[in-house]
């Protein structure tokens, strides 16, 4: 890709020297222009991924990472956008495939995508009050009312924190194995008992 063209045209764009693919930090105000320039001038015509992330210990708490693929040049580029005030412009006008990815990032992190055509939750139900992938949200969940009031009335069921039993994923002591999980001794069967 033509990195010089990108950084000279968008001076706020910062090269993060990615180890696996060209990586840039893009300002939210430039995002749409950068993505459309990459799409129309440099052939990055496929949005491979878009996800939210939470960065602890950084002034801006949330960010969005976009992976673009060029199907003609067979190369990727990664764009990193900080969500200032939890807001990022939506790229679904340029790449319609971003629509559901952005809804997921909104659902899980509460990042608001400005200009999104359908800014609803996608995984949790619409009245759910939290954003479960945030670091301050407990894995077990927080008690809230059941999604459907009439069903809750018949069953008395609430959305309850799951019993974690000291978990998640408790192992009962011992040394952690570093090998691939496999059946090591396969010499014994039901007919031929273990020696």
């Amino acid at each position: 890709m033509d990195a010089a063209a990108l950084t000279s045209r968008f001076p706020t764009t910062q090269d993060l020297t990615g180890k696996d693919m060209p990586t840039y930090r893009v300002a939210g105000s430039d995002l749409l222009a950068v993505v459309s320039a990459l799409r129309d001038e440099q052939g990055f015509d496929l949005l491979a991924d878009l996800c939210g992330l939470e960065l602890q210990g950084r002034p801006v708490r949330f960010g969005v990472v976009i992976h673009l693929l060029s199907t003609t040049h067979k190369e990727y580029v990664r764009l990193h956008v900080d969500a200032v005030n939890d807001r990022v412009p939506s790229v679904s006008s340029l790449h319609p495939g971003a629509n559901w990815h952005e809804r997921e990032a909104f659902d899980m992190f509460g990042i608001v995508f400005e200009g999104h055509p359908d800014p609803r939750r996608i995984l949790m139900w619409d009245s759910y009050p939290y954003h479960p992938l945030r670091k301050d949200f407990p894995l077990a969940g927080i008690e809230v009312p059941f999604p459907a009031a009439d069903v809750a009335e018949v069953t008395g069921q609430k959305v309850e924190p799951a019993p974690m039993m000291g978990g998640p994923f408790v192992s009962h002591g011992g040394k952690m194995s570093t090998g691939e999980p496999s059946a090591l001794d396969q010499s014994w069967t039901e007919e031929k008992p273990k020696a």
Binding site: L123, M124, W125, P132, F137, P138, L139, A140, G141, I142, F146, P147, A148, V151, V154, T155, G156, Q157, V159, E160, P161, A162, P163, M164, M165, G167, P168
Partner: protein
């Protein structure tokens, strides 16, 4: 039908079998349990296998998978019940005509399974009364068939009415009116 449910002696009764209405009704019901396949996750694959020719659930009169709850007798909850889907499961259960039974297939439907998290209902028995629980992740089709045979056993031994307890309340349905 169990042996004591009918009396038949060709010398005495000729071509007539004497029995009780309950026993006949239960016999009919237990041999034509039409399932409502509530396939929600990976367990549904094993449910489909049970419907295929190798495991052949039609040996028990259960091959008629009814995707309409109005025509189904037994809801097989096969998979992870999320809170978002729980509402739908309960509504479909409410739409099924009495008498109706529920089978919780696999660890997820029985207890929430490995999904100890904010999104998953910890057992479908929180929202519908469950008759049979089948362990496994996923249960093999043989285990499902075993569970369905236990359900048949249960249906055969039901009395004049169907009684089930859910969250401390007893729901009673008359079998023969």
């Amino acid at each position: 039908m169990v042996k004591s449910d009918f009396g038949y002696n060709s010398k005495v009764e000729g071509e007539v079998i004497v029995t009780r209405a309950d026993a006949v009704v239960n016999w009919v019901r237990s041999n034509s349990v039409w399932p409502m396949p509530m396939g929600l996750a990976c367990c549904a694959i094993e449910l489909m296998a049970a419907g295929g020719s190798r495991f052949d659930i039609s040996r028990f009169g259960m091959e008629v998978m009814r995707f309409s709850p109005r025509q189904a007798d037994c809801m097989i909850v096969a998979g992870t019940v999320t809170y978002k889907m729980a509402e739908v499961v309960r509504r479909i259960y409410d739409q099924m005509a009495e008498p109706k039974w529920v089978v919780a297939m696999g660890a997820c439907a029985s207890t929430g399974g490995m999904y100890r998290s904010y999104s998953t209902l910890q057992g479908v028995d929180n929202i519908v009364p469950v008759d049979i629980y089948i362990s496994g992740c996923p249960p093999r089709p043989e285990a499902l068939l075993d569970g369905m045979m236990l359900l048949q056993e249960k249906i055969r031994n039901e009395g004049g009415s169907l009684r089930r307890t859910f969250r401390g309340r007893t729901v009673e349905t008359k079998i023969v009116s």
